[in-house]
């Protein structure tokens, strides 16, 4: 496409998306965006037609998590724009790179309560990294370039571009524009200069603090994955021989099977990960943000720990917990510089002796492993058992997505994550219904990988319609539906904190019939009720690759997720599995 060619804004928009490297987008057309859907017919971009715009948003997120490339969404104005607000907020809280194009009523009609008009940029201001209302066709190429630049650099996040119909509609003279290949100079972002390189002096100070720490813990978050720093982290951890906890957003960023890996900390973290942080004298936080689900009651969190905090977003440094050394920068670059700095002060050999710390930690690991009580003959399946069987009957590079609730915690606890980008979930916003569309997006981005969506019955009913999309678009994902007929996590809170007064948490044991529903959506549906059926059902599901499969596991509604830090309590008050209660650490 040569510069100076006359074209319509709609063509220019699709062309600009192609130029941004977009291979696939998720969307659903409607009135205001109609003119843009016409040139899509002739575009190289694959468009996945969703059944609900929220699905498009979560698919784009799943695609971005799995591939590292920005997810792209295109929907119309009004109700379509409001339907993507949840995924935008989800992407905002979990720092997922995403570009969302919304149609808008013609520029002259904005503010007149026109049909399917809403103030999209106003509504999404607080849930996007940035948004644009494009008012001239000529601005389209530079705005699209800026949108992708903002979404993918610095702390990644969602960017929305609102496009009035008249500037893309070939019948409207306002859509006429002269094509140009937008460059960085065209973007005009005088207030946006993300800093990626860490301050060398602070890095040297951090290295010295690490060298002399007696009970250090590497506290790593989703920023490791966003900055493609898993390899760099492994090198650093092995050089300094410091144990690693991986937050819910960072599962897989450090291999679970590694000797130094303690697993997930936080509200449903394992005893060792939670307690190691609590007793630590130095937390080295890399791309994590001291979320309340990790810290528990802030006053009581890791009381003896000094804090080194590395984050690309300076607003995170000291936001929640006072830091001793705060380093603004890209995690991968800072970790590499830190590794060099550690080497310069003597590397592994110069570290203080941490033998006692290591043996304390392995003592906890032996005494407080993750446990559950296996069901007796005739009893309902245990969800943990289902996850163990899923893990043992799938390759280690399987991509696992999850919804939000008990099943999410079981998946994070019982799957063994040994590779980065194999775990995709909704951490910050906690969006029920995330798993199925996210799995579809991941499978589109990584078609050669097996993708399992671990879901709950509450979540499934929120976004199951996207299985129709998966069937029709030939995206063979697999769903492990843990059906306990309850909103399980809410039930658990009511049992533990509301005197077992169960309010509005029972869904239904009979309705819907998930097998029939799945079949109606073009999937294979399998129901599993007893332990011996679990592995064969998983094997059968894995053999089907020409359509999606839903395996419904009927699980025990009385099962609770342990360990648990009760809300508002300190992490020192972690409640372990009933069978371990009373054991001295």
């Amino acid at each position: 496409m040569s510069n100076n060619q006359q074209m319509c804004g709609g063509e220019a928009l699709v062309k600009a998306l192609e130029r941004a490297g977009v291979e696939v987008m998720f969307g659903l057309p409607g009135g205001a965006i109609l003119p843009v859907y016409d040139p899509i017919i002739d575009s190289s971009i694959r468009h996945i037609l969703v059944r609900h715009e929220q699905g498009a948003g979560h698919m784009a997120e799943g695609y971005a998590h799995a591939t590292g490339r920005p997810g792209v969404v295109m929907v119309t104005s009004g109700p379509a724009a409001t339907n993507v607000v949840t995924p935008l907020c989800d992407a905002f809280l979990d720092s997922v790179p995403m570009v969302c194009i919304t149609g808008q009523v013609p520029y002259a009609a904005i503010g007149t309560d026109a049909f399917q008009e809403c103030d999209t940029t106003g509504i999404t201001m607080a849930v996007t990294k940035h948004n644009f209302l494009v008012t001239e066709a000529q601005d389209i190429p530079r705005t699209i370039r800026a949108a992708f630049h903002i979404a993918t650099t610095g702390r990644p996040g969602p960017v929305l571009v609102d496009i009035p119909k008249d500037i893309v509609d070939p019948v409207n003279p306002r859509s006429a524009m002269t094509w140009y290949e937008a460059t960085d100079a065209d973007m005009d972002l005088p207030g946006y200069h993300p800093i990626t390189q860490g301050d060398p002096e602070l890095i040297r100070a951090a290295a010295e603090m690490i060298r002399t720490a007696e009970r250090p813990v590497l506290y790593v978050g989703g920023g490791i994955l966003k900055s493609r720093a898993a390899e760099a982290l492994l090198q650093l951890a092995e050089m300094v021989q410091i144990p690693v906890v991986t937050t819910l957003m960072a599962r897989g960023a450090f291999p679970d099977s590694h000797d130094l890996c303690l697993g997930m900390p936080g509200m449903h973290g394992n005893f060792t990960a939670v307690t190691a942080m609590q007793k630590s004298d130095l937390l080295i936080s890399l791309g994590a943000r001291f979320d309340d689900r990790v810290t528990g009651k802030l006053d009581g969190f890791a009381p003896d720990a000094k804090i080194i905090h590395v984050d690309i977003d300076p607003a995170e440094l000291g936001k929640v917990r006072r830091v001793d050394i705060g380093i603004q920068g890209d995690c991968r670059l800072v970790i590499e510089d830190l590794t060099t700095a550690m080497r310069e002060i003597g590397g592994t050999d110069a570290q203080v002796d941490r033998g006692a710390w290591r043996s304390t930690i392995s003592g906890w690991q032996e005494k407080f492993p993750l446990v559950y009580e296996q069901s007796e003959l005739g009893e309902r399946l245990k969800p943990q058992y289902v996850l163990e069987e899923l893990r043992d009957n799938n390759p280690a590079d399987t991509i696992v997505t999850s919804g939000v609730g008990q099943h999410q915690m079981y998946a994070s606890q019982y799957w063994k994550f040994d590779y980065p980008y194999t775990w995709i979930n909704s951490g910050g916003l906690g969006t029920m219904g995330f798993s199925i569309p996210a799995a579809i997006g991941a499978k589109v981005g990584k078609p050669d990988r097996r993708v399992w969506a671990v879901d709950g019955d509450g979540c499934f009913q929120m976004t199951a319609q996207e299985l129709v999309t998966a069937s029709v678009e030939d995206i063979p994902i697999k769903v492990a539906l843990l059906n306990n007929s309850y909103l399980g996590m809410v039930r658990q809170w009511q049992e533990m904190f509301y005197d077992e007064r169960f309010s509005e948490v029972y869904l239904s044991e009979q309705t819907p019939d998930y097998v029939k529903w799945s079949e109606a959506m073009g999937c294979v549906g399998i129901r599993v009720e007893s332990p011996e059926e679990v592995a064969p059902a998983i094997t059968k599901a894995n053999e089907i690759n020409d359509r999606p499969v839903v395996v419904e596991f009927r699980t025990d509604p009385r099962e609770n997720v342990f360990p648990m830090v009760p809300a508002g309590k300190s992490n020192s008050e972690l409640v372990v599995d009933p069978s371990q209660q009373g054991l001295e650490p």
């Binding site: 209302l133 972002l189 005088p190 207030g191 936001k319």
Partner: protein, 163 residues
């Protein structure tokens, strides 16, 4: 009431584009912080505007807001001006009742305070007065007995003090 001269002043240089004020003020609204005063105008470079806020909040939450302001794509620069390190002014336009009985007293007051008469008729005088915010408050109290017909203030603007 706290002394308005003690309020924090935040001066932001932003891109002169639609919606930028909403983004900036939204960050305060979201946290339930009231903006005491606000002044917006283009700078000497027409690509940029300067937004001057005064906010009556504790320093710690304010620091977080300032960090969030910095993350806004359209915000180019932020200066926090502590009261002792800045010079600030605010402008007031006020129409005061001025019948024949009180006119002489009012004119004396206007002279004392170095306010300017912008317009007058037989019943009213319109004044402009520019000073620190607290001085505006005091002047307003002095005018009140005469009868304030209409009053409008601009919100304060500020620059760093000279050494």
């Amino acid at each position: 009431m706290s002394n308005p001269d003690r309020f924090h002043t935040i001066v932001t240089t932003v891109e002169n584009k639609p919606g930028v004020l909403a983004r900036v003020s939204g960050l305060f609204a979201r946290r339930g912080f009231n903006i005491e005063s606000l002044a917006v105008a283009p700078t000497d470079d027409e690509r940029f505007s300067r937004i001057t806020f005064t906010v009556d909040v504790e320093s710690a939450p304010l620091e977080q807001v300032v960090k969030q302001l910095n993350k806004l794509i359209n915000v180019v620069e932020i200066q926090e001006l502590p009261p002792e390190e800045c010079v600030s002014r605010e402008l007031m336009l006020v129409t005061v009742a001025a019948d024949a009985h009180h006119r002489r007293d009012l004119m004396e007051l206007i002279d004392d305070w170095r306010a300017y008469v912008l317009a007058e008729n037989t019943e009213r005088i319109m004044l402009s007065f520019s000073a620190r915010t607290a001085r505006l408050d005091e002047f307003e109290e002095c005018l009140r007995p005469f009868g304030i017909v209409e009053l409008q203030r601009t919100g304060r603007v500020a620059l760093p003090a000279l050494d």
